[in-house]
Each structure stands twice: as C-alpha cells, then as structure tokens.
C-alpha cells in the first residue's frame, strides 16, 4: 500500500471517529500536559536552587558548621530544652569553633586550608548615611579570612582593614540588592539600587553590648557583591570582627561560627566530609550538597512524573479499548477491504497510522496545554519570585527537548497501545468479517 493512500485512508477514518477519539484522548492530553508542567516545575526549581539559593562553592571546598541543635530548633526551642545558648559562658558554647577545633580540622588528611567565619557577637545595626538616623536595620555581621576572599575580588587591594582605620570594606549578598529593589524600594517608593550606586552610599554600623551597654560605631564601605555574604548583613574582614568581639566581649576573638575547609583536590572531599561528620560537625561539600538536593528533586520529579504517567497509562488503556470496539464495529469494512485486495499488513498499517495521527494530535494538544499552563503560572508567580531572587529566575524551566519528547513520544506510545487491536483486525477472517 502506497504511503499517500495509507495516509488518506487513515485520515478519513480518524475524521469519521473524531468525537469518540476526542473523548478517549482527553485523559492522555491531560496526562501529557501535567507531565510538561511537572517536569518544567521541578527543573525550574532545581535551577532556582542551584543558581540562586545555595552558596556556590568550589569543588574542593566545603562549609562546616558545629553540629548544634539550636541551628535546627531555633533559640526559643533550645531554651525550652535546657540547651546551651547565647547566655552560656564562652568556653562552653557548642555553636562555635574554637582554635583547638580548628587545629583538629587542619590535621585531617587532605585538608589544604581552613578559613573561619566569625560573627560579631552583639546586636548590630546598619544605618544609612549617618549613625543614629531612623533608616536602620538590625543585621548580622560576618568576618572572613582575607585569604579566602581576595582571590574572588576584582581589586583585592581594597579588601584591607587594620585597627584604627576609619572605614571597613564590606561585601553584600546580591539577593539583598534584589530584595531592596523589589520589596523595600517598591513599598516605600525609594530609588532602586545598583552595586555602583551602593558603593557611593555611606553606611554606618553600630554594635551594642546589651549587658554592658557599650557601643561601637564604624563606617562601612561596600565594595562589591558576594554570595558568601550573609543574606541580611555585610561580610567584612575578619580582623575587624576580631577587634570588635575582643573589645566588647573578652575571649570572643577566637570563636568561629562556621568554617570553609579547602581540600588539596576535589577527590579528597568525600573522605574529609566523613572525617568531619565523625568529629560531630555538619560538613557539606559542594558535590554532596548538590547530590542531596538533586536526590530530593529527583524523587519529587519521579513522583510527579509517575502521577502523570499513570494518568497517561490509564487513558491509553481506554484508547486500546476504544480501538478494540472500533475494530469490532469495522469488521465488515475490514472484510470488504480484504476482499478487494488488502493484505493483513495493509489493515494493520491503516489502524496503526490512525493511532499515530491520534497520538500526534494528543502530543501537540497536550504540549500546547502544558506550555500554556507553564506560561500562565510563570506570569502569576514570577512577579512574586523576583522579589527574592535576582532577575531572570523562574519556578519553571520549559525545555524544547521536553516538548519534542512529548510530541514524538505520544504517537509512539499510542502505536504500542494500539498494536494489539491492529493485529486483531489484521487477523480477521475476511469471509467471517463480511457476514453481517
């Protein structure tokens, strides 16, 4: 049978049965649309997390935190459980690394360097323009070893602080700028900021010790952006933090809130992570974090994909059933075709081509609905998202490959599903089929 005749004949049959086919196709179309929606969502969320929400570390670096239950439970809960909190004497603080702990970590095989993050251990306020005015916010100030940060700066010479300097260089998190521009700026009708404008704004930091009522004030000079900076607060040279902590609280100048541990090579990371976990710390290598997040996203993706595929599968069973009924109803027609020269292969081809047409229709319509749903949800949700992450972020990642797979896969799935009814039709005895 020639291809043009095959296509003409199959198309005539599809048109003839279009109402029934539309009804039976509804489930498949819905399933394919949800498949596109779910995959786009999980892929988009994956990108969102990896590109914007987690700190990107070099492959040989890991971040280490003390395994302190207050980290998980919050201080309120920690107090209820009778744990050791901010009020605990320094020597007994479990949520900080001391120099002894640092030395222990440095001694682990494969560790190249350990850089501490130190927080100012007092309430800190960031003032705009001048200290004491009303445009202020409570912030967390972190200090980082110069060695760790200078390699990431365009001009390392600006990252310098010595006791007595009038200004402290600082880096801020890019998400802080986005949050300002999309939330505060909009809510209070304030101008939007870029890093260049921020660099010109004078900030003042006021640190207060609630117990002694001592305060300390310093001008902050923002020199750039860094993902290592805390979300709400500046990242400054560690020498400044040590100076403040030393002045306000005796003995606080050698306590670190977290550490960046660099391995000699990426292959050392798993061993170091295991060793650190054995020492009771929370250690996260870049790869391990990525693996953990990826695993979680993959599980969700598989679960959602399974839901879609179950919908598609059940609907395909319905299509198989419809085709079987149609073949029974078309027995006479098949008998006539066999009587005038159709081979078994011709009959099988006609029915399979019909299923290809239907599958292609389902794939195209399902994709269109899925893409439409993604675009509609993007339109609804992205204005909210853009307040929290830098521009260009989306909850969805609509891949052309996904659409291509659905459009091509749908006819192939239909082909597999309809193979049995097509085979049944091909094997009908023409003499029996011609009996009315």
């Amino acid at each position: 049978m020639r291809l043009d005749n095959l296509l003409t004949s199959s198309w005539q049959n599809v048109r003839r049965n279009r109402r029934r086919i539309m009804l039976s196709s509804f489930g498949v179309i819905f399933g394919l649309a949800t498949l596109i929606l779910f995959f786009s969502l999980t892929s988009g969320v994956r990108n969102l997390i990896f590109d914007h929400l987690i700190e990107q570390l070099p492959a040989n670096q890991m971040k280490v935190n003390p395994h302190y239950e207050g980290n998980l439970l919050g201080f309120g809960m920690q107090k209820l459980l009778g744990g050791k909190t901010e009020e605990t004497p320094l020597a007994e603080r479990e949520d900080r690394f001391n120099t002894e702990a640092l030395d222990g970590i440095k001694a682990i095989d494969g560790v190249a360097s350990v850089h501490g993050i130190m927080q100012i251990e007092a309430r800190s306020y960031l003032y705009l323009f001048s200290p004491g005015n009303r445009a202020n916010s409570r912030v967390g100030v972190s200090g980082v070893d110069d060695e760790l940060i200078v390699g990431e700066l365009d001009d390392p010479s600006v990252w310098h602080y010595e006791e007595g300097d009038s200004r402290v260089p600082a880096l801020i998190n890019p998400q802080l700028v986005v949050a300002w521009n999309e939330t505060f700026s909009v809510s209070f009708d304030l101008p939007k900021l870029t890093i260049d404008t921020i660099k010109t704004v004078p900030f003042w930091l006021e640190i207060a010790n609630d117990r002694t009522y001592d305060t300390y004030t310093k001008q902050i000079k923002v020199i750039g952006l860094s993902n290592r900076a805390p979300i709400f607060g500046p990242l400054v040279p560690i020498s400044f933090v040590k100076e403040i902590n030393g002045k306000l609280f005796e003995g606080y100048s050698d306590l670190y809130s977290s550490l960046y541990v660099s391995a000699k090579a990426p292959e050392f990371v798993p061993g170091i992570v295991a060793e650190l976990q054995g020492m009771g710390y929370d250690a996260t290598g870049e790869q391990q974090l990525a693996d953990t997040i990826s695993f979680g996203i993959n599980v969700v993706t598989l679960f959602l994909a399974a839901i879609s595929l179950v919908i598609v599968f059940i609907s395909l069973l319905n299509i198989v059933n419809i085709f079987l009924i149609t073949v029974m109803e078309r027995k006479f027609e098949i008998g006539v075709m066999r009587a005038v020269g159709a081979t078994r292969r011709d009959i099988r081809s006609i029915i399979l081509t019909e299923s290809l047409f239907i599958g292609l229709f389902n794939g195209i319509v399902g994709s269109a609905i899925g893409v439409g749903a993604v675009l509609a949800l993007e339109w609804l949700l992205n204005p909210v998202l853009v307040r929290f992450v830098p521009g260009g972020a989306s909850f969805f990642d609509l891949s052309p490959w996904l659409i291509a797979i659905v459009v091509i896969g749908s006819p192939l799935l239909n082909l597999l599903a309809v193979f049995q009814p097509a085979n049944y039709a091909a094997r009908l005895d023409p003499v029996e089929a011609l009996k009315r």
């Binding site: 003409t8 005539q12 005038v340």
Partner: protein
C-alpha cells in the same frame, strides 16, 4: 481459465463436520460467462469465495489464470484478489462512510497507484456504469440499483480477468435487475473477462453461455 478439481469444502458447526461442497469439478474458459444455479444454502457463495481466494481452507485443487490458489501465500492471495478478481456482492457491500467515488476506488488503495490517479480511474469507472454525476453521493443517498452500479464500478476498476457475481440482482426490483444484468454482461464482454454468476434467478442464469447447478458440478467434470 478456471480449473477446479475434486474440490471439497467442510467446516465445523456445533462440533459436527458439515460438508458444503463434495468432489466438485469445474472448467471455465477465458472470457466465458457461466451461471451456477441452486437454492440458497447449497454452496454457491462458498464456491465463489473459494475462487476469489477468500476461503482457502479446502481440499482439492483450484487453479485460476494459471495460479494454484492453495500454493499462494496470504499476501499473494491479496494481490490476486486485487488484480485478478472483481467481486460483486448480493448486498452491494459498500462502505457507508465513503461516497460513491471513494467506494469505487477502494481496490486501488491497495494497488501501486497514486491517490489522485485512483480518483481519476474511479470517476471513469463511475462514468462507465452511468453514475458520474453521483460520485459525491453516499450509499444512503443512492437507490438499490445505483448502489449495485457503484459496486460494479468497484469490482471492475482494476480490469480483472475474472468477475464473480454473487446474486447480483437479488435485492433489486425487476426493471433495475434487467439493466444491472445487461451492464454486468456487457462490461464482462468488453473486458473479455470470465464471468461466473451465482444465482437462483433463471432469467439471469439464462444469459450465460453455460449453466450448472452445484449438484451437477459435484457429479462429475464440467
């Protein structure tokens, strides 16, 4: 030429073997018009189905235009039905969802011919049977005689060597019957095709050069 030797056809019904045709012999020359008479249920349609290659579960030998049908594969039988046989059914057997033109060209769908060429041929075939103006009408919009004309156009569209007509006028009124009979015989003669008509209608049978009953064919060589 059609040559049938010792044809026996049996089938199972309610766990019993029913013999429809027993030791049947028939010889029909090329271009000859033959009638096979007999009441309903005697095996006329079965014989035509066997000659058409639709029913191959038989004993004996059936040779049509030099082909021994039992030796043909299913695909070869399909090609044989398409190229060599033109079958006219009692019930017309038109497909209700296709118009007259589309019904007439159904055999060409399975021949090595383009769809546009097939449409031209089908239109010519409809013109031959006097239905060119009704090409776009569906079977439900045609009279019994018109339906049978479409069926004749379909049977003859591939210019078959053998035309098998199974009670072609059984569902038609007297006037239409005559015109259909004339049409079939005229076209068979024009095409120099062998025509076998199965009928219980004596008037129709009398148009043939030779008339047989199934009993006669089972009695000896014919």
């Amino acid at each position: 030429m059609i040559k049938i030797n010792n044809l026996t056809k049996k089938y199972e019904r309610d766990r019993e073997t029913v013999t429809v045709l027993q030791q049947l012999n028939l010889l029909v020359d090329e271009g000859e018009i033959v009638s096979i008479m007999g009441p309903s249920g005697v095996g006329k349609t079965t014989l035509l189905n066997i000659i058409a290659g639709l029913d191959t579960d038989i004993d004996g030998d059936v040779e049509v235009e030099g082909r021994h049908l039992q030796k043909l594969s299913l695909s070869q039988l399909a090609v044989y039905r398409n190229k060599t046989i033109g079958f006219i059914f009692q019930e017309f057997n038109l497909l209700p969802h296709l118009n007259a033109l589309e019904n007439a060209l159904v055999p060409l769908m399975f021949a090595d011919i383009s769809h546009s060429e097939a449409e031209k041929k089908a239109l010519n075939a409809l013109e031959t049977v006097g239905l060119k103006e009704m090409a776009q009408r569906y079977p439900s919009e045609l009279s019994g005689g018109q339906k049978q004309r479409v069926a004749i156009a379909r049977a003859l569209i591939n210019r078959p060597k053998v035309i098998l007509a199974d009670e072609p006028t059984a569902n038609l009124d007297a006037d239409t019957e005559k015109s259909i009979i004339k049409l079939i015989t005229r076209l068979a003669e024009e095409e120099k095709a062998t025509l076998i008509i199965a009928t219980h209608n004596g008037e129709l049978a009398s148009l043939a050069q030779r008339i047989f009953t199934i009993e006669e064919l089972q009695g000896g060589a014919a």
